[in-house]
Symmetry: C3
Amino acid sequence: MSTSTLSPMKKIEVVVSNEDAHAVRTLFEHAGVSGFTAISAAAGLGHGGYHASNLTFNTEAGLTMLLAVASEARADALVVGLRELLESRSGVFFVSDVAVSRPEYFA
Amino acid sequence: MSTSTLSPMKKIEVVVSNEDAHAVRTLFEHAGVSGFTAISAAAGLGHGGYHASNLTFNTEAGLTMLLAVASEARADALVVGLRELLESRSGVFFVSDVAVSRPEYFA
Amino acid sequence: MSTSTLSPMKKIEVVVSNEDAHAVRTLFEHAGVSGFTAISAAAGLGHGGYHASNLTFNTEAGLTMLLAVASEARADALVVGLRELLESRSGVFFVSDVAVSRPEYFA
């Protein structure tokens, strides 16, 4: 089957405030992630939701979702960097499995 | 590896018309989902696509994609609620596996 | 559990320049994918990122992310079509596993 000829990669989705999107992009570059997609998002939250340290997202704040696909090794480096970054900033990230064609484009 | 130290969670993506986004947010809150992201979307469709009951999405209608990450137990509650909600409204939802850092933030 | 009563499907996410979004939609239709969601995106890139053939995405270009959910058989047909399309156009696509309620709506 066609989908079984694809190569396994990791997808990393990061949601941060617009002003922190640049720091995430810098992390992507340092981890050697060759491409990413940025999407404008809005967030809401219930009690105690989507926060880090003493900061809390609110529905007014503009958010950006950044999405990158990378090899497991690069994703590992990115996770270390994102954990560090989000110690002092609001934000969340999720990692999931994806399959891609032409894995060489994702380095 | 860094990615293997992450905690498994469920990601729930819901696509509904803008006017139903609030009902989905209410469901998220009732299921105890502490945070979510909302993204503006547009949809197209082929023959018979993306619909529920007698309503059909068209490319003119504004759509919202709502994305939440939750524990499997909360995702289960959300699935029950979403099934009920989408019996009378246009919309689709997908559930997938993700891994997160700091699972306590996702309740 | 509720999530275990869902049906397995494939999610296909495609990121292309706005002007190629229509070609992707046509592919979706030919593969029998009954519905999809389109999201406006922006992309940045590191060295050598997100490209195909001699074209390269830049941060100025408007991008569209198109998201479809389909059976594995339809996803296979879509992967064949997307590979062919992206030989001559900039763009990337990812395939992942999702679970849905009401699989008959996704054909």
